[in-house]
Amino acid sequence: MTIPEVSIEEVRRIIGSFSIESVRNWLKRCELPSTARSRDELAAKIHGQIAKGELTLDGLSVAIIGIEEASAKRTFLYRVPVSPSTTARIEKQLADLHVTLSDRPIRTTNPSQTTKVVYVVNSTEGLRAKWTEIHTKIEADRIKRQFKETKVPKSIVLIINKMTGLVQLRCDKPEDEHSHPGPNGPTDDAYFAYFREQAENLTGLPFEPIDLRTSLEKLLKATPRIIKTSYTVDQSDDGGYTKRAQKQNGKDVRDLEDWQQMTKSRTVRTFEESPVHWLKEMSGRELHREVFSYIYANEGQVRFDADCYEEEIAYVLSHLV
């Protein structure tokens, strides 16, 4: 088999500005050497692996789309009814809006200040869509008394599973300036609300938010433990709003005497939020490493790490919804 010649510039272009850690993590999953201290070193390594036939350019492109659509996302969870009428409604809405459908996910290119649809894929199993836009990050240089502005491309991904009715709206972290104003300038809430509205408009379906409080409680109280955590927030029926933190390195908040007392108490509590590390050894070989996610149970939102990938998100969500 002949290996098509690929330039290192092409590899660099595909890797783009994604974090080195996320690309290295993908190489590790492919069981290929992944040590690289810089972006150039990483590009050279991947270029060499493609030349040796250990990787393909298509494989790299698919992996980069996966990183773009899964890593560092605030994932809002909703439900839509599972029924033939749901599917029919989506079909009609896409037709009414004259949406051009793609046959597979596409990588974001040329994002602009205004929101653009990158692709919409509609199949019998589900619907997947992606938008892109540019935000501006503003950092203050106190020594020079100047502000530094950086343009940051953002990707927002909608995934509807028509078999389960689960909807994921994955949003990148909002920056200081963007085109979604609140009452006094751009706000995070306005940005998230805009994309929920876009997603509902695209499908013609109202999204019902998922309350994760009960799932979080089950997760925190599960024995043997499948996660570790150093911080929890709960609200109780006697008016308490308690933030519990474990300040000692490597220890779990549930090892605290206070936690043990709380679990024996008859006071009714709702568990509002917690950062959790999903234990690899308790995942039944589904995880290849410990995975971090922050669960905002009250908002039905889960935040994932920058080097997270699709299968890890699926594992986390399988325990929450």
């Binding site: 972290k173 150093s230 911080y231 933030k243 933190a245 474990q246 300040k247 000692q248 390195n249 950062p275 971090f292 922050y294 935040r303 790490d305």
Partner: protein, 135 residues
């Protein structure tokens, strides 16, 4: 007299009865704690009925005898969750990524805090406690 001078004199000239009593209390507390626990001066002070400063002085004296070792923990200013730990204060940099807040925290801007804690060398503590009870 500054605390440092008082401290040096106390070490050089043998501890005063008050200091001896303080050390006995702190050693008893350390012995009662589980292995690998991080020892926080203000908690020690509360347990033995002394100030945080007195507890810290005793822990520092024990460090000179190889029983304790100080560390500087960096904690998220919002949640108190540990972000990093250092043995030397000069190594504490001015920016820490906090996974929980998904923000960069800085001690100089007050978005995270630095606190001292101690770890215990159990072997040295055992030897020291045995010697003291024999005396």
């Amino acid at each position: 007299m500054s605390l440092a001078t008082w401290f040096k004199r106390a070490i050089a000239g043998g501890a005063s009865p008050r200091l001896q009593a303080l050390l006995v209390d702190v050693v008893a507390y350390l012995e009662s704690r589980p292995t690998n626990e991080e020892i926080v001066p203000k908690i020690v002070g509360k347990v033995i009925g002394e100030s945080e400063l007195a507890a810290m002085t005793a822990l520092s004296m024990l460090e000179r005898r190889g029983i304790t070792r100080h560390h500087f923990g960096v904690y998220c200013g919002k949640t108190e969750v540990p972000l990093d730990t250092f043995d030397d204060l000069s190594d504490v940099r001015d920016g820490f990524d906090c996974k929980i807040c998904d923000k960069r925290h800085s001690p100089s801007e007050g978005t995270c805090k630095v606190e001292v804690y101690y770890t215990v060398d159990r072997d040295s503590l055992g030897t020291f406690a045995a010697r003291r009870s024999a005396a």
